[in-house]
Symmetry: C2
Subunit: 413 residues, 2 copies
């Protein structure tokens, strides 16, 4: 077999994206396909059908992660895996995660078309609730799969209606076998839209992800006391919303301070009680996150965010407790896997550029237990997590073909 | 008749407060009796029953305001009115508004007990939705009654479930006759708990309200754009929540700046969309208000709040539109009515102190069309709009008796 000459069927890939783009369609160009929703179930059913039609065996684990396997010629060898997610943000786009999963399917279809066998199995994985839009934390199902966090916490997480991850999983019929989680892999590759502007601006073909931004998030419980916003003097108020506002302002300042080093921090979510005009609020829950390319930079930002929280609590006369934290980007990708992607791109004549990922990905979880690499494809204007997310097939094909040939090469090692 | 010697039946007043305190009971010591809710209907029904039992005629206008009238001996004379509200905040107390209404009922019962007639009718009014906890604006039904704002806007206001004031009014059976709104009064008196600490701290018997703080509120529409909080650089974000946070922080600073002059400003309510951890929010609605004893002080604060809004919009790269504003405290109370309350207290040997009201009251609305005065009674620690709101009967009786004797005196003029 001549290596690095395989090409997928671009039109067929595009058609699968278009089918997906109708399931949970939102605001003309977007998707709202929250994890474990009815729309997510529909998409999973369609995907599983496609995989079975392509001759794959399909297993589902107790976290709802789906594993579609094309057998290899040597049953003693562990699989080369790839994958991403099919759930979206509430105001999400049609490609984030989805392109990676459907590119994996397209690899299998392409090998089938040509009657090509590989030594190792090739497995396409759909991770549950990568986005975290419905259940906290994001990437939880992948993190629990590799044992990085406890599965119980993931299954017990509640959405805003009080429904647990585990209940939602059962209700859509995707609560599978716990033993399916004990899987061993040769490697894991993930293809994803860049969610940033570099490839679009530089016109490079593919991005090779060399690592992730060090990213931390936290949820704050801010507690004050209700009072009438009229008679209560400033020094007698314990306004939880003022506490939140001071944290938001300070975290924004910290983000700007580290902007020259590509650091960033922000607040994205707030709940306020009783949340009535004219009544001093007694409680706020606030989500903040911050990211920095260097671990030391992230650590400094963390210290400054903590100082800002303490200062805000004092100024607003409220208590602020850090209720939950998450962190990612501290796991390293695999040099051999990265080199394979670069060599493949070189040999195919595709230009490539190194990129640090700033968003979280399931690959971060897999990197805790398996050699991992990621490849980025361009998205227009770098827009993502937005219904305006957009890709072009012609700009996407180079990346998918590099992905295809690298995976096949690895599966024949 | 010897003036200023009448006394109400304190135990009976307390019993009516206790009945009221069970209708919409919330968190042991509080009430959640939102305007035009099922609880509000129950309380209205009980109150109307009490008034009819006391021989009053009862009318309801198209805004749900209830008018219970005890006839006078001269049917050509306009009534001396008094009243307040029976609705509460979501985390409200048992006395705010309610004490004023039930003290009015107690006046009528006391006069009935003693067989005392007055020249003018005495009328007890229950104003709909004074709190504004369910429908904006607060005091809207009283403001529309006097023609200060259009009734259509009040009837069309929607609660958070999209139900209009008018629909809710019909559903509880309190949409009355529009012509009932064309009423003419000799005067209006309102008794209310102080909602501040002055009487409690100074141990004075009653507060005589000489005017209201100049108070303004606004709702802000803050618009940015959704984006992934990861890859999006600080200078590319348009985070509506950051815009809101900067306004909250700045408004808090303005409040502290005018704290030495008894000014205050704060933010109390926020809605955020899509409100998901990790997604830059595209929209926030924020309620802010500010109050100052002097009109010129309130005007300066208004200018500073507007400057802060403009600066926050620029810094957060969002647009901020002032969607709604309200103002109160610009109507003056009546010198003769104030003097009558003070003289009555003096003659009864009750100590009194002048107080500027910092909260809004239905009396502000009535002051646009009728001579008005207000009397405050002590509440423990000045706590209000809180389930911990508390009064003592012994500290309340002096105020209610001054209220009674002043109203009887006015009704015999």
């Amino acid at each position: 077999m001549i290596t690095n000459t395989l090409e997928i069927d671009g039109e067929r890939l595009w058609q699968t994206l278009e089918v997906s783009g109708e399931i949970g369609k939102f605001r003309e160009t977007g998707l709202r396909r929250l994890a474990l929703s009815e729309e997510d179930k529909q998409m999973r059913d369609v995907f599983v059908g496609w995989c079975r039609d392509a001759g794959c065996s399909v297993e589902v684990d107790h976290l709802g992660n789906i594993f579609a396997t094309r057998p290899g010629t040597d049953s003693a060898l562990s699989a080369v895996s790839c994958g991403s997610h099919l759930d979206t943000q509430a105001n999400g786009g049609k490609y984030d995660g989805i392109l990676g999963v459907l590119s994996g399917l397209e690899i299998i279809r392409t090998l089938n078309d040509r009657g090509i066998e590989t030594k190792r199995p090739i497995e396409v994985i759909v991770w549950t609730n990568e986005e975290g839009a419905r259940f906290t934390p994001p990437m939880g199902a992948a993190m629990a799969f590799v044992g990085h966090i406890p599965a119980d916490g993931v299954l017990g997480a509640k959405d805003s209606d009080g429904i647990t991850f585990g209940e939602a999983l059962k209700s859509i019929g995707y609560a599978g076998d716990e033993n399916a989680a004990n899987r061993d892999y040769d490697s894991y590759f993930e293809l994803h839209i860049e969610q940033g502007p570099i490839l679009d601006e530089t016109n490079e073909d593919v991005g090779i992800v060399t690592g992730g931004y060090h990213s931390r998030g936290m949820k704050l419980d801010i507690r004050g006391e209700t009072a009438h916003a009229g008679p209560t003097a400033m020094d007698q108020r314990q306004n939880a919303l003022v506490g939140a506002g001071l944290v938001i302002a300070a975290v924004n300042d910290i983000g700007w301070k580290y902007h020259p080093e590509n650091g960033k921090s922000t607040a994205t979510q707030i709940f306020c009680e009783p949340n009535l005009a004219g009544i001093v609020p007694e409680y706020c829950r606030l989500s903040v996150d911050f990211r920095h390319p260097d671990e030391s930079g992230a650590e400094i930002m963390y210290v400054e965010v903590q100082q800002a929280i303490a200062a805000a609590a004092k100024r607003a006369q409220v208590t602020i407790e850090v209720a939950e934290t998450w962190t990612f980007g501290d796991s390293m990708f695999d040099d051999d896997c990265i080199k394979l992607l670069k060599d493949t791109a070189d040999q195919m004549g595709q230009s490539h550029v190194d990129i640090m990922s700033q968003a979280g990905h399931d690959a971060y979880a897999m990197a805790h237990s398996t050699p991992v690499a990621m490849i980025f494809t361009p998205c227009t204007g770098g827009v993502s997590h937005n219904t305006g997310e957009k890709i072009e097939l012609a700009r996407t094909l180079p990346g998918v073909n590099v992905f295809l040939n690298a995976i096949v090469a690895r599966a024949n090692q």
